[in-house]
């Protein structure tokens, strides 16, 4: 696995503030989220950012773990980078290939609406389709996290979901 920052940070060769790899297991999320909270609050002195970090880390990791394959190459990687007033959280995973197109479609759908509209639309969809799983997570990342989301396909069937926003 090669760590890859988004175009914004790769141009500046920004070094990740946090980089970690782990098996795609739900049990890790709480600890990573709370560490992310402490880290952002302490590093940037910004409780608001810490709260945003919690939502972004929780929901992107849940999404990655839910659709991750199992196996020796299925480790997830979380990166946190910050430079020039911007912060980036990214999660790399090895998903079930069928999920990649669904994710691409979902991100495209989110992009068409402003963050708050997209979040409300997700609520309405959840109300209309009680039998379907939530699908609120990415809309929530965008709205509560105040970030824009993108997806990049990497070597070996891996994808990287990136959340980029202002500090």
């Amino acid at each position: 696995m090669t760590s890859v920052a988004s175009a914004v940070f790769s141009e500046t060769n920004a070094r990740p503030l946090v980089s970690m790899r782990f098996r795609p297991a739900w049990a890790y999320i709480d600890g990573i989220r709370e560490f992310g909270r402490f880290f952002c609050e302490t590093t940037f002195g910004a409780p608001d950012l810490a709260e945003r970090a919690c939502v972004i880390i929780q929901e992107t990791l849940e999404n990655a773990i839910k659709y991750s394959t199992k196996g020796p190459n299925s480790e997830l990687e979380l990166l946190i980078l910050a430079e020039h007033g911007q912060i980036e959280f990214s999660v790399s995973s090895l998903p079930d290939p069928a999920h990649i197109q669904n994710l691409r479609n979902e991100l495209k759908g989110l992009d068409k609406l402003a963050p708050e509209e997209a979040y409300l639309a997700a609520f309405l969809r959840a109300a209309r389709e009680p039998e379907n799983s939530g699908r609120l997570g990415l809309a929530r990342v965008r709205y509560e996290g105040n970030v824009e989301l993108s997806m990049k396909e990497e070597d070996g069937g891996r994808i990287r979901i990136t959340a980029l926003g202002r500090l």
């Binding site: 939502v55 979040y119 609520f123 109300a127 509560e144």
Partner: protein, 123 residues
């Protein structure tokens, strides 16, 4: 007639739930469940009990619920939809606006089903 407070509270790691007469549910801590079915069943039981006992209102206090994942938010959506569908009572939600998830989620719930939900902010 079984009391509202007799509903069995599930054991959820990180979450404390208190039922107090005649109609209050207080939730404290965090909800980051992978499988929300136990909580969903609990909310369903509360809904049924409130309806059967003809309670005009259920008070839901989430001011000390520090963090939830989107699967948990989905459970509140479901509950609001049941209340809207039955029209038997209102769900009065006490929130802390300083917690972003509470501010955003309950605003969205009101926008969706304003006849079923009342939101009041803790002072």
């Amino acid at each position: 007639m079984k009391s509202f407070t007799d509903v069995s509270v599930p054991a959820v790691p990180g979450l404390e739930v208190l039922l107090s007469a005649p109609n209050r549910v207080t939730m404290k801590g965090t909800i980051t469940l992978q499988d929300g079915s136990a909580l969903s069943a609990f909310f369903r039981a509360l809904h049924g009990r409130a309806r059967d006992n003809k309670l005009g209102e259920v008070e839901l206090d989430v001011t000390s619920l520090r963090f939830v994942n989107s699967s948990a938010i989905r459970l509140f959506v479901d509950w609001a939809v049941w209340v809207h569908g039955d029209g038997a009572y209102k769900l009065r939600c006490r929130i802390d606006r300083r917690q972003t998830w509470q501010k955003t989620s309950f605003s969205a719930l009101i926008a969706m089903v304003d006849d079923a939900i009342v939101v009041e902010e803790a002072s």
